[in-house]
Every structure is written in C-alpha cells, then in structure tokens.
Amino acid sequence: MTTIGIPRSLLYYNYFPAWKCFFEELGAEVVLSDKTTKNILDSGVKVAVDETCLPVKLFYGHVQNLKEKNIDYLFIPRVVSVEKKEYLCPKFLGLPNMVLNLMKDLPPVLHLDIDISKKNKGFYRKIYKLGKLFTPNPLKTAVAFKKALKKLSEYQQQLLMGYTPMEYLDSLENGSISKQKYDFKDSKKNLDKREVPQKLKIAVLGHSYNLNDSYISMDIYKKLRDMGANILTTEMLSQSDQEKGASNLKKDIFWTFGKDIIGSAYYLLDQQMVDGVVLVVSFGCGPDSLVGEMIERTFKRKRTLPLLFLTLDEHSGEAGVLTRLEAFVDMVRLNKKTA
C-alpha cells in the first residue's frame, strides 16, 4: 500500500480529517509525524533561516521526523488562498519550495496548489491530477473528494460545539469523543453543552497551529481550564460571527487566519460573552504583527474587556507563561467580582 506522510503541523489542524479521508478513499495509508517534542523542534530550527517564524520552523522539524518513517510520499500542499480575495501568509505560498530547498533526500513530494483567490476553475483539475497517482478512474477521485469535504464539515461542526481541534484530532487516533448533534438553529447553545457553569470564560485567540500544539502553546488550554476557566477559541465561533466582528474594520483584511482572529476578537468585544481574551502570537509572525496591534489598540481604547498579549518563540519558558496566565486570570476574576 502507498503510504503518505503528513506533517502534524500548520494546516494539519485545519484540514487533516479531509486529507486523511481523501487519501484513504483512494487506497493509500496516511502516516502522521510524531507529536511535537523538543527534538522535533530543534531539528526544524537547525535547518531554518533564523528569522523564520516558530510554526514554520516546527513544520521543518515534522518533515524531518517523517523522513525517518517509511513513507512513499510526503504531502505538502501549497495553500495560497481558501477564500475569494484573501490569502494565507506568504510563507504558506512558498512552503513546498522552502522545504525542498532547505532539506535534502526527502521522499517525493505530492504537490497540490490551492488558490481560489480569484476563481476556482482549476481547482478540480488539480484534485483529479493528484488522484491520478492512485487511481486512473476520475470518478473514484471525485467520490473521495466529496467524502473528504463531508468529513471536513463534520470536523468544523464538532469545533463549533466547543471541541478544540486538538481534542477532535486526537480522537481520530484513539476514538475518545462521541459525536454530538450540532444544533444549527442556535449556535451559542451548542457551546453551552460543554461548559462548566459558574466559571470564568476566557477566549484564547491565535493561530490554530500554535494553540493546538500542546508543546508550542505549553498546553495553554489545559492551564486555563485547570485555573477554573471555560475556554473559547476562534474555531468555536461561526464564520458569520467572525464576519460580524471583522465588519468593524475599515478595510477588509486579506489574510484568512488574520481575519478569523481579528473578527473573533472584535465580535467578543462587541458581545461581551467572555470575561477575558488571551491573544497568542508567535514571534516573527508577519500578519500577526499588524493584526495583534489593531486588536490591542482597539481593546485598550474601549477598556471593556481585559486582554493578555502573549508572544511565543522557541525560547519561551513555561514558568514565565504560567505566571502571566495566572496573573491574568486573577485579574479577570477580580474584575468580574467587582463588576
């Protein structure tokens, strides 16, 4: 059986259920890199250009990790754009090229360019081309693609119900989550099911690939929950809520993830449905340097919702992060009592 290696990094957190389904439908086996460890990160940092942002360095590490596994292909899609007039960060646009130029002796890379910024005409052709490697029958590819899309929307629904990507993706490997029915009528109700009443509610905003990698984020979700807070992430807010928040901007923001983050932040600021917001940014992230600044300034001006701005890099120490989180949660709690 053909085995396909997928790095447990970057867009894994957004699209893995779909990728896995697609390749398995076509009769291939999907192999993931191990969960992030210090070794994986270090091996990525070693090959990367200094200034590269943390998540991309980590991606290199996961590719190195896959190299040691017995795989036939490496899947590194180039996701340029997933929404009209929007892009992902430039580093996603050059990702396969950076990997190929920085690392030697890699298994052959499966390419797939996804760009629907202007039109999505070529999109299906590219999918068929990818499918051709596994089956000569385009119909089979079409079926696999359709199933993959279904898996993706299932995944996104579970996230809207309050599961973090990490929880759901882990369950793909050990089957720990029992799927619940999504209530389309009232999106907020879905979230309530998973919440512990009478507790603080803190939103953790940032890139999925930073927050859900418990090594990189130092398991910020667990830390906050242990401190007695319910958490809310960008994935738990529906697209339309995020759009609502982003409509406060004078000019549409052209990074998809940046828009999700700033849209969520502004939505939460308007709705007052959480007690505090933690914004997690990785050092050297281009879009976040601007998105973060906009959020910080707006929150400061309004002074209605406490914000913690947390910057992570490969030198971040767990103790420092914990101290800041504790101080923040204490402050939020005090704020709530006096309010």
């Binding site: 580093k91 646009l93 950076m98 052209f254 992230c285 601007l290």
Partner: protein
C-alpha cells in the same frame, strides 16, 4: 478661496519618491508638506509607536508621518495593496497609531487598480481638487518622467562611483543632479535636467585603472533597496570600496507593477519568473520571487556576487532567504543576506561587506588561475 478647503498633503519617504509626489500635488494646486529627511529622530519616533515586530518600512513611515503632521500636514497619502504582503495593510495600522497619538488628520489610501479602479479614481480626483482628468494626466505624466530620469541618473552614478578619484565625489555630483530634477516641471526641462545631470555625474574625475571592479547585484525588498537611509547607504559604501553595483529594483519598476494595468508592465517579469521556476514556482507576495529570479539572472550575467537586503521579519523575503543558499550553491555565486532594522549598525555592515569583498576577490583570483592552467 471660495469655500474650498485646502488640505496639506504629505506622504512617506522612499528614495526619490518625494520628488515625484511633490510634483503631482503641487502641479494640481495642492499644498504639500514634504516630511523632513529621515534622520535618527525619525526612526526613534517611528519605532516608539509602531508594533515591535512590524517590518521596518512601517516604522519609518510612522516616523515620517509624525514629523510631517508636526510641521502642519493634515492629509497623508499612502499606497494600499491586496496582499499577501503586509504592506497592503500598513495604512490601516498607521491610522490607528496616529489616531491614538491624538493627531487630527486624514489618511487617503490609494488602492491598486486591481482592488477598485473606481475608488482609486475617486480618491485621485478628490486630492486633485477636482481638476480635469486632462490636468491630472499631465501632472502624473511629468512625475513619471521625473522618476524615470532619476532612475537613469542613479544607474549612471553607480557606474562612475567605483572609479572616482576622490571619495564621495560621485555622491555629491548625484545629489546635485537630483536637485536639478526637483525643479523641472515640464517635458523639455526634464530632458534638459537629465542631460545636465548625467553630464555632472560623468564629469567626476576618475582614476585610470586597468583593474576591473567587482560587480555586485543588489536584490531584495524594494523599500530597503530604494531608501538609502534604511539600507545604511549600502550602494555608496560598496561603490567607495571600488565595487560596481547594479540595482535590480527601481521606483519606476514598482509603479509599473502596482499602479499600472498589466499591459504596461515591465517586460522582465516573465524572464524573472522563468529563471526562478526551478526553485520557486509561485508568487509569494512582496519581492520574494523577484529576489530569487534576479539572483539567478545576475549569476548568468557573470556577476561576482549578490547582496540580498530585507527588512527584519519580512515574510516574502524570508521565503527567498530560505531558497537563495541553494541557488547560490548551484550557480556558484556568492551571496550575502542583510536583514535590517532599527538595530542595524553601520560598522557591523561594513565589516561583513569587507569580508564578503575578500571572498569575492579570492574567488576571482582562483578562477583566473584555473583559466591559466
């Protein structure tokens, strides 16, 4: 004036861009406040109020704006963009920053025509005090001619500088030539200033040397390449070390690429894409693809080395930076990458340049020997 509100227009510094913008708005009858030249103070102001890891040009812009607003400007002209490079969102962030500082101003973002042609037209018309499109066209045409003339003079100065007898003579001559161009406001006077300026540059007294200077190409992010203060006058430094520098990006290129429809685009885009294809086969925003492609073209033109300049944390250029070492190995062309920001010091840069020169000289000697055998 009869009820007309006069605005005082300002804009960011970027090499000689101010000359052209000054021309456009003055010719259209607007009042212009050119920001004071970039100094240490500009940078300090910009850095103090900008996001910590925003790219350097944003910080310098903010410094320019603060200094211009302090001297009476109230309308800022800024270019926009449709991504994915951060530059396209600069104006939005800069507006927030300046608002929080309490300035009373308006920022007008000129979005590229791909974004909204009508919006662009409306903004231009408004800034031009609703003058006729004919007059607007004329002002833009003159400014465009100035830019092209300035680019030609700049290229000439790069050719002369490595041979100059007295250090700094070329730079002085170039400055004089530029100052002629500032005042030229019609096609004839621009042509005349150009020929005069070129003459001034050409007449710099040169040493008679049989030695062929090293040839170095400069690639990278446009702001850092075009703005001498931002790149620590790297062209001048190299030239005075006796190097013939070639610059791949000029303001004229950028304007063609961003503000004019594709039809008038620079002819070498396809060539650059083709050259880079094996290493980078997709645009990455900014000038990342150009940096890779042009490095290869320089190698094919037998340049001795390439210097890559980028602002610290520039995402498109980091993609290029990750790919260039492989290009450098394959094409045997030495490459030096400078990531610059407010913390860069000239001494450090000079040291690295000197080491780089030594390497290039050695490589050249070695190749000469190989040729002799």
């Amino acid at each position: 004036m009869d009820g007309e509100i006069t605005v005082k227009i300002t804009f960011p510094h970027m090499g000689n861009l101010w000359i052209a913008l000054n021309t456009i708005f003055e010719e259209l009858g607007a009042e212009v406040v050119v920001p004071p030249p970039i100094t240490k103070k500009t940078i300090t102001l910009g850095v103090r109020h900008s996001p910590e890891f925003a790219c350097f040009p944003l910080k310098v812009n903010v410094g320019n704006f603060i200094e211009a607003l302090e001297t009476g400007a109230d309308t800022i002209i800024m270019a926009g963009g449709t991504g994915p490079c951060r530059f396209g969102y600069y104006a939005e962030v800069q507006r927030e920053i300046l608002q929080d500082l309490g300035y009373d101003f308006e920022i007008v973002t000129l979005e590229p025509p791909q974004g909204s042609l009508l919006g662009l037209a409306a903004n231009i018309k408004r800034l031009a005090n609703y003058k006729s499109w004919n007059e607007i066209y004329r002002a833009f045409k003159i400014a465009w001619q100035q830019i092209n003339a300035l680019d030609i003079m700049h290229a000439a100065s790069l050719k002369v500088r490595p041979y100059e007898e007295q250090k700094g003579a070329t730079s002085k001559a170039y400055e004089k030539a530029v100052s002629l161009m500032v005042e030229a406001r019609n096609t004839d006077s621009i042509a005349e200033s150009l020929s005069q300026g070129l003459q001034i540059i050409e007449s710099v007294s040169r040493v008679n040397s049989s030695r062929k200077p090293l040839k170095i190409g400069i690639v990278g992010e446009i702001y850092m390449v075009v703005e001498p203060y931002a790149n620590m006058e790297i062209e001048k430094t190299l030239g005075e070390m006796g190097v013939e520098v070639h610059r791949s990006i000029y303001l004229g290129h950028w304007i063609k690429e961003h503000l004019l429809p594709k039809l008038f685009g620079p002819g070498d885009v396809e060539e650059i894409k083709k050259a880079a294809f094996k290493y980078l086969n997709h645009f990455v925003g900014g000038h990342g693809l150009e940096s890779v492609g042009r490095t290869i073209l320089y190698a094919q033109d037998n340049y001795d080395g390439v210097i890559h300049i980028l602002p610290f944390t520039c995402t498109p250029e980091i993609v290029a930076q990750s790919i260039l070492p492989e290009v450098s190995r394959d094409y045997q062309i030495p490459l030096l990458s400078f990531s610059m920001d407010e913390h860069s010091g000239q001494a450090g840069i000079i040291t690295r340049l000197e080491a780089f020169m030594d390497l290039l000289e050695q490589k050249r000697e070695k190749e000469k020997l190989l040729g002799a055998v």
